[in-house]
Symmetry: C2
């Protein structure tokens, strides 16, 4: 009897992605796994059941969970969904343990073996499983498109019989995966692009995409490829210097995030007040509260003529390709655990061990265990 990999319809509000894609079904088949899909699981991504060639379509989530050996999810299952999981089954998804400690406790109580994709160590072997990167790439691309759509100005230079329109200036704050894709997309559209990051090591990447690196004389290289937090004095200097550059922007895209913490407030109201009327801010850090103090997560507001757009779950808006990349990340994580048609994870592998959240009735990640159960 082959292993049953089950993919339910996501239930979180606004979530359009689905944790499966047709090419992944075929590859799992070769590994001896059968894919079960809840009917309509792809509908919010404009993917009908027929787009999942080779999957067995199941009429309801309850029926799906009863049969599942391994459940693949985009977002963490709700408590009601965890209730339906089969005791001892395996769950893989972006489980956001820090936001949902009560769900981790429920997974533990139900003896679920759960893996959080965000906890996979960022080593080169695991790049192909990196959902943070794949979804950030989508978000960065989309941020530039949203900026172009909301702006009352043209991005490219336009030469006409009546004269020439100068290209827009797009400034990007935070040069991670999302920032780099935003730079590349704004450049493709013909905008003049400048970018800033506290990590000066990003300068070459910015320049290689044809953009100008903004130098402020402050650096904050941190661990794991992220930025460390700045001191208050550094923050003030950063804000004042940045404000001068930002005053010239037609579109500002901010992507600065510190994992597990609220987004740093690097765009105060005074900076927005210095911007031109009709300028657009796309605050990609809205999930963590936003990089701009005026940001209202999930909303689009206008402040003194400046349009501040703070979308949540941006990858979900590009649901077809975001799902495809996410499903491929899951496949790459799952593949080494499937041997000769059987589920046989090597828990000593640093990638598997790093992602492991709950197993055999225990919380395996120490900092999350402390969060859920308290320090001992």
């Amino acid at each position: 009897m082959s292993i049953k990999v089950a993919v339910p319809k996501e239930t979180a509000e606004g979530e359009r992605r689905v944790a499966m894609e047709s090419s992944v079904i075929a590859k799992l088949g070769k590994l001896g796994a059968e894919v079960l899909l809840e009917t309509g699981a792809g509908s919010a991504a404009h993917l009908p059941d027929s787009a999942f060639n080779g999957a067995s379509i199941v009429a309801s989530a309850a029926e799906l969970y009863q049969q599942a050996d391994i459940v693949l999810k985009v977002q963490a299952p709700s408590l009601a969904e965890i209730e339906q999981l089969k005791e001892g089954s395996v769950l893989i998804g972006s489980l956001q343990p820090y936001q949902h400690p009560e769900r981790i406790a429920a997974l533990k109580a139900k003896n679920i073996t759960s893996f959080a994709m965000e906890l996979i160590p960022r080593i080169s072997r695991a790049q192909s499983m990196d959902v943070l990167s794949s979804q950030a790439a989508i978000a960065g691309y989309k941020a530039a498109i949203m900026g172009a759509d909301l702006a009352p100005r043209f991005f490219p230079m336009l030469t006409t019989a009546a004269g020439t329109i100068r290209p827009s200036k797009v400034i990007i704050i935070g040069v991670g995966v999302a920032g780099l894709q935003a730079i590349a997309t704004a450049r493709r559209l013909g905008a003049v692009v400048e970018a800033y990051d506290v990590r000066s090591a990003t300068k070459e990447q910015v320049q290689s995409l044809g953009a100008k690196f903004i130098e402020l004389g402050i650096t904050a290289e941190g661990a794991g490829g992220y930025a460390r937090e700045l001191t208050d004095a550094e923050k003030q200097q950063q804000q004042a210097e940045l404000a001068k550059h930002i005053a010239t922007a037609d579109v500002l895209i901010t992507t600065a995030a510190v994992p597990g913490r609220p987004s740093p407030k690097i765009i105060p109201e005074t900076t927005v007040d210095g911007m031109k009327s009709g300028a657009v801010i796309i605050d990609l850090a809205a999930e963590g509260g936003g990089n701009c103090t005026l940001t209202q997560p999930g909303k689009t507001i206008v402040h003194n003529g400046v349009i501040i757009h703070a979308p949540l779950n941006v990858p979900s808006q590009v649901a077809v390709h975001a799902s495809e990349m996410y499903a491929k990340n899951l496949l790459n994580f799952l593949t080494p655990m499937l041997k000769d048609g059987a589920y046989a994870p090597d828990f000593s592998d640093e990638v598997i061990a790093g992602a492991l959240l709950t197993h055999e009735g225990k919380i395996m990640n120490e900092s999350i265990r402390q969060l859920v159960e308290g320090a001992e």
Copy 2:
């Protein structure tokens, strides 16, 4: 006493543009004209009064019209606005005489000398005054951006550690100024682009932008650079052949318009039914009823998973640059009429005569005269 050129705030619903721009104010000044601007005229375009350096700001439209020798407008003035115009003054704008015959009659009755920018003959000397072209360029660019924003798919190819996302296919129907800008913008974003036009002469232009020309074996070159109407048999053949191509599209942008007539219906429901779920149609011909039979002008609908977006007055969404280009078109038209600081049009000039709509109590354009007054 210098000539007073007056620019009111546009009053038509959804109109954000303004018929003036700062560089045009300076140039008119050198020609001996003074620019008067109604306060807030640029506010919908995110242009505060202070953006119109050199213009005299006037508190109300009524006060503005009392002083005006020449009034510059984006859209045709309403009957209430015409009521406020000074007897014998000059009006220049996109007056849409075929849509508003009652307003033309009112302009005649009020002894206004009116010029319709759309009626300027399309000769090379007049290219710099061509508002149809300048605004269509904006609309074509914006159509590609709207397509990218509404699509659940990435436009560019994306290569990641987890695999490669193929680029989207964008198909553009109608290769005029708008179609060419849509092609160029979709190409910039990395999409694979195909385009179709009944005028086979557009093939080279399409190819020069890196897109593929769709050959159907039907041609319909018409007068003045527009397409002639097809016969019913030609239309059926065109639709059937096009449908096969369109079935492969991720985004379809239609721009087919025949001047003064409803937009040709080249995308029937059966063609839409053949499209993939999540495909997007941007119907730029919505003002004339649309190129798709399902189009609801001004709305976004979903039909069997296909998103059909039919925006009205697209240039208005890019109001800063659309206003700038429009104002430059007006300047180029107005310049030859201003001699030694005086308004002195040469009515024998074919450009000026071509645009002339009403003058000295008469309707000067014969086909519009017949429309308004009936044949004699």
